[in-house]
């Protein structure tokens, strides 16, 4: 991994965020809502409306509004929420931290389950266990999140009644209660992700199993366990990293639904509320933060991949 490659990758990330800026601004600009009217209500006098428009710069040409908006956004200022009157950015970042907690928990659980499952399926290729896991994986991919979430909620709240079906408690307040609230959403997200990751792990393991170095390791007389853990798993995991990074993007989308269903005040739910109440600054901040998070995770995944895989030369 050369310095020039790293630099180019970073530039690409910045370009991505810039494009997202343009898109988010363009889309929200076209929203058929008059910000001044929303702020002051229906009965505002024309003078007051004009004053607010001048103050907010709504009379400026669009490109100037965009420049001002970007300048403020870069310094983390997305304006004040039209709904609550509070600054948007801190609120959205708090929401993001809750979502990241959910995402991190789900990813951890997913890897813990999907990696052994994928390897197991590959080792039993073509047998009942393999077919069964494939069918489960297929179902996982073919069910929309909201269906998986509702059905799991239906089943699990019956089986384990002490698990709260909805809500959120900060782990800083009460760690036990926080974990109990997170259990169902984390399980739901994992069920969806396991399908993706498992399929990838299975096909990668099949590839690696046929490689010369695995045969060499076996011929050396290494115990099967060592071959599987050190040679097969290590090498099969590498491409899985990329899939996991792609899944983070999917996760950010899927989390909107999951948070809505389990009533978790994360970034997805904040964005949904912003959209339904037409709260322009919140929509902009939420979309920007989500897309930027994704751009950063993608870049990180590429860098980690480059660090781990010395065979590929980036120049």
């Amino acid at each position: 991994m050369s310095f020039a490659w790293l630099l180019r990758r970073l530039l690409l990330m910045i370009y991505t965020v810039a494009i997202v800026c343009v898109l988010v601004f363009a889309i929200t600009q076209a929203l058929p809502a008059d910000a001044a009217q929303t702020l002051l209500g229906e009965n505002a006098s024309p003078e007051a409306l004009a004053a607010v428009r001048t103050r907010l710069g709504l009379d400026d040409p669009v490109w100037l509004q965009f420049v001002h908006w970007v300048a403020r956004a870069v310094s983390g200022n997305f304006g004040v929420s039209m709904r609550t009157g509070l600054p948007v950015a801190p609120e959205m970042l708090t929401a993001l931290s809750r979502s990241l907690l959910l995402a991190a928990g789900s990813l951890a659980l997913t890897l813990l389950v999907a990696v052994p499952m994928g390897m197991f399926a590959a080792l039993r290729q073509g047998r009942v266990a393999d077919t069964a896991t494939s069918v489960i994986a297929y179902l996982g991919v073919s069910l929309p999140e909201f269906v998986t979430a509702t059905v799991l909620a239906l089943l699990l709240t019956d089986i384990v009644p002490w698990l709260p079906a909805t809500g959120y408690v900060s782990p800083l307040e009460n760690i036990g209660l926080a974990l109990r609230h997170l259990a169902l959403p984390v399980l739901t997200v994992s069920v969806i992700l396991v399908a993706h990751v498992m399929r990838m792990m299975r096909s990668e393991t099949l590839d690696v199993l046929q490689s010369d170095y695995v045969r060499a390791a076996r011929l050396k007389g290494l115990p099967e366990r060592t071959v599987l853990v050190r040679h097969v798993m290590g090498n099969a995991l590498l491409p899985v990293i990329t899939i996991v990074a792609l899944d983070v993007g999917y996760l950010l989308g899927g989390i909107i639904v999951i948070e809505e269903i389990f009533a978790i005040p994360g970034i997805g739910r904040a964005l949904m509320i912003a959209i339904t109440t037409r709260d322009l600054p919140s929509i902009q901040a939420g979309a920007m933060i989500m897309a930027t998070t994704y751009a950063i995770t993608n870049t990180l995944a590429d860098v980690v991949y480059a660090l781990l895989d010395r065979r590929i030369r980036y120049d």
């Binding site: 690409l12 370009y15 991505t16 810039a18 494009i19 997202v20 898109l23 988010v24 889309i27 929200t28 076209a30 929203l31 058929p32 297929y138 179902l139 991919v141 073919s142 069910l143 929309p144 999140e145 909201f146 269906v147 509702t150 059905v151 909620a153 239906l154 709240t157 019956d158 096909s203 099949l206 993007g249 999917y250 950010l252 989308g253 899927g254 909107i256 639904v257 809505e260 269903i261 964005l271 949904m272 959209i275 339904t276 037409r278 929509i283 979309a287 989500m290 897309a291 994704y294 751009a295 993608n298």
Partner: protein, 276 residues
């Protein structure tokens, strides 16, 4: 065509997929006539009636027959997903082939921008677009189409790059044909295969995305018996009458599975070498 079909039904997955797809097509065409009751017909004595001989899949909170709603809802769900995928694929194909046709710096610029747009998660993109366009089934279709376009552009471009270097394309360029002629008459027909495979698999995502938008209240609006909307309505009664929830969920899942399986079977049938 018959040979392709024969190849597709060599594996059980292909048979299941095609069967489901044919069933789905029949539902979309004849659904309302097959339904035993009207989708809006209420029966206050039969509220939350469990599945049985009167209501095969049970009745909902207004005593409406779940099976009838499902059957009439098929055309509110599946054709929408198809339309969105078609439109998205068309836009993506034009961008992808155009980019490959232009080549060089323009190709690089278009593809980098395309990648950047792809970095916005699909559902987020669709939500943003719907928030601008307004709620409704038609707007949801437009939003899904636009959210799909960059992905399709990427797939198309990778195939189109190889086609761009073929002699017949070079000949057309040398003849001085207009860009539109080269793109639509020379290149497009030769990248159709991969586009169709990708699009078929994507219909399953479109079904899910459309149902999700409706579920969130941004797509189809009540009292439509769109499947995502039916799930949303059924949620509050899920402990009392789980069948109202399970029937539309299963319908969405089966449609998604159908397109997924058929897409996979198509890919296998067109690439005989890859047997995994």
């Amino acid at each position: 065509m018959t040979e392709l079909l024969q190849r597709m039904i060599r594996k059980p997955q292909g048979v299941i997929g095609l069967t489901l797809l044919v069933a789905l097509a029949i539902l979309c065409l004849l659904g309302p006539w097959l339904a035993p009751y009207g989708p809006e017909k209420m029966d206050f004595l039969g509220r939350f009636r469990a599945p049985g001989w009167q209501n095969w899949l049970g009745a909902d909170q207004f005593g409406r027959d779940v099976l009838s709603r499902l059957l009439s809802g098929a055309r509110a769900t599946v054709p929408m997903a198809l339309a969105a995928t078609l439109a998205g694929s068309a836009i993506g194909a034009v961008i992808g082939i155009g980019s490959a046709y232009l080549g060089g710096k323009s190709d690089e610029a278009i593809m980098r921008t395309n990648d950047a747009v792809m970095a916005i998660p699909g559902l987020l993109m669709a939500l943003l677009l719907v928030s601008t366009l307004g709620n409704g089934a038609g707007n949801a279709v437009v939003a899904i189409a636009l959210a799909f376009a960059p992905g399709m552009a990427r797939v198309t471009r990778s195939v189109a790059l190889a086609v761009r270097n073929q002699d017949y394309v070079k000949a057309a360029v040398a003849r001085g044909e207009a860009a539109a002629h080269v793109i639509f008459r020379e290149m497009l027909p030769n990248v159709m295969g991969p586009i169709i495979i990708e699009a078929t698999i994507r219909v399953s995502f479109a079904v899910m995305l459309f149902a999700t938008l409706s579920f969130l209240g941004l797509g189809a609006q009540p009292p439509a018996s769109e499947w995502g909307l039916m799930v949303a309505d059924a949620r509050q009664y899920m402990h009392r009458a789980p069948w109202i929830l399970i029937a539309p969920s299963a319908a969405i899942a089966l449609s998604a599975i159908a397109f997924n399986l058929v897409g996979d079977a198509l890919r296998d049938a067109l690439n005989p070498r890859d047997d995994r």
